[in-house]
Symmetry: C2
Subunit: 360 residues, 2 copies
């Protein structure tokens, strides 16, 4: 088992990465406060892993909230179901919430924990590659609003993150690829050697080789933990993680939440951001092709929806609702080179529109 530390002063916490971790009560026990545990999961994960996890917490009073599966249920209304279970069972301020599932379950459980009685502890047990390498680490929690993704939420750090690579064996291929989009992102924004490593080991990752997966998860979490420690509440640096996300969120919202997976939006959205970076002279055609190739290798979409599905204007409107907007101007994460990203509002509107038109 590997242990990484997210260094946030008194809110620091460990990330455990390894096999057979969800069955290890000794590992998890020190991070449980109180006697009451609420496991939040969804209809897909519950039949696979809920029983094992309930057993791990068998020393506690365990209750379960099973949410419907999908980004379209990441709403205030469904969030309320978590509160219903906690309150119906009189869970007090010293209880612990456990998120057992992918990014949606993790984000919602984290926000529910932030808001329940104005804040209780929680533990992340991410079960998708995407949530293992991204959303479970860093304390961003929240739900969507019809006008935008993750618009309602809180910064609320977990007590620990338990990444069990065994659970990836039941992940659908499409979900595995979606997770790889975020893995590739770390290479693109801040870690060129990792990008090269990914070019070399993509086949092993797609074949779910446990050694390769552990390596990819560890390096991704290291990259994430490093930047989160420097900028917990995203006043600057942390925005780099959003490469491809302003375009990608627009795709997800424009096509209807749940139709495109988040990682798929990030893949196509990253290609749009990098196309703009190329127009601006930062990225060569050769590097552009190399990036397109790795996303395709990971079985990810590299083109956004067609103009018929989403016009340029629709893109711009949805992008204007992004959290990175300041005083009406859309700020974007662009690449300087592979392994180095920057956040900027300094690009020409016509190049942005050219990107929307040409990269389809």
């Amino acid at each position: 088992m590997k242990t990484l530390n997210v260094d946030l002063g008194e809110r620091s916490y460990p990330i455990f990465i390894g096999q057979q971790l969800i069955n290890d009560p000794e590992l998890i026990r020190p991070y449980v406060q109180g006697t009451q545990v609420l496991i939040v999961t969804n209809t897909t994960v519950a039949p696979l892993y809920l029983e094992q996890v309930e057993k791990t917490f068998s020393d506690y009073e365990v209750r379960v909230a099973v949410l419907p599966d999908g980004e379209e249920y990441k709403s205030l209304e469904v969030l309320n179901k978590i509160f219903d279970v906690a309150l119906a069972n009189r869970f007090d301020r010293k209880c612990t919430f456990v998120a057992l599932g992918g990014g949606v379950v993790g984000d919602m459980t984290g926000f529910a924990a932030a808001a329940y009685q104005r804040g209780v502890n929680f533990i992340q047990i991410p079960t998708t590659l995407l949530s293992q390498v991204d959303s479970s680490v860093g304390g961003k929690t929240g739900v969507n609003h019809p006008f935008g993704k993750n618009m309602i939420g809180a910064f609320h750090q977990p007590e620990c993150v338990v990444i069990d690579t065994d659970v990836l064996s039941t992940l659908e291929d499409r979900e595995l690829s979606a997770g790889l989009a975020e893995v590739i992102k770390y290479g693109l924004i801040s870690d060129y050697p990792f990008f090269e490593w990914l070019e070399q080991y993509m086949d092993e990752l797609l074949a779910r080789d446990p050694v390769a997966l552990t390596e990819a998860i560890e390096r991704s979490c290291q990259n994430k933990a490093k930047i989160v420690a420097l900028d917990e509440k995203e006043s600057g640096l942390r925005a780099l993680f959003n490469l491809g996300h302003t375009f990608g969120h627009a795709i997800e919202a424009g096509m209807g939440y749940g139709k495109w997976l988040h990682g798929e939006g990030v893949s196509a959205g990253s290609m749009q951001a990098i196309y703009l970076s190329k127009l601006m002279g930062n990225i060569s055609q050769a590097d552009f092709d190399r990036i397109e190739k790795i996303f395709k290798h990971a079985k990810l979409p590299t083109l956004p929806p067609s103009v018929n599905e989403m016009s340029n204007q629709r893109f711009l409107d949805l992008m204007a609702g992004d959290k990175k907007v300041q005083a009406g101007h859309i700020r974007l994460v662009l690449l300087k080179r592979i392994g180095e990203a920057y956040v900027t509002g300094d690009y020409s509107q016509s190049m942005l529109e050219q990107t929307l038109t040409e990269w389809r």
Copy 2:
């Protein structure tokens, strides 16, 4: 104008108390971040003060959310209306929310500000005596759930609190009395000289004498700010503010939110807590009578609903859902003497039931 400071390190903020403050752009401007201001108010306050406050913020892009008036609308569902307005107008992370109203508006606006894009700034302009002396100070925000009051929320401190005593001129008599319940509470829990002062000046307060009101508000806020500074997130001391609230919340929930005003529940609930304190030998019959007299003088109910309206068992069930419960045992705020309260789980269940039976 008086200025008090709530001392919370980098989250410190001032409380301004005086006349004609809501019309003073110079006073408020230093506390507005960004260019976008969302004023949240309700259908009762809007016709009275919204125009003036909009004028005060006329240098900014101002939008308004008008909520229905009443504790029964303090829900996640109504909270979403605040997000709707902010998002429809593309308010970004640098915007400022302004709460213009009583405790419900303040608590909801504060929680909306805590959760909107994971946290934006907000300013409190409380318009009821109760919110001026209690809920606008200290950063507790939230909404109710059918199973309990303020069960969903956040600690989120305002940038400043603007208490304009002129707005109390339009307050209904019943609302003024409800506010006096919390004022009297400060005397009971931590300030015997203030309790004596209140006995002497209750008639002036009921007559809305501005000098007496300013004094009562200032001393109440001083008491509150002192304890909040020592215990921002209610790990101990701060629970003292909840004298009468465990009983009072049960009354509010049991009778249906909105039927009893919060301050009315606190008044009758405090009498129940003090009756139990008397049974335990802390409070003499003479002091008990003195406390009953001051609540009555303030035109507040001192008896809870009848047994027919709320049985002892119903009381106990609702009290068991309180946030102060730990591992199933109800902790209560009781009096040692007038001017000194304590939090305890150390009382006999039979005396609690005796209180519920006898003090009706």
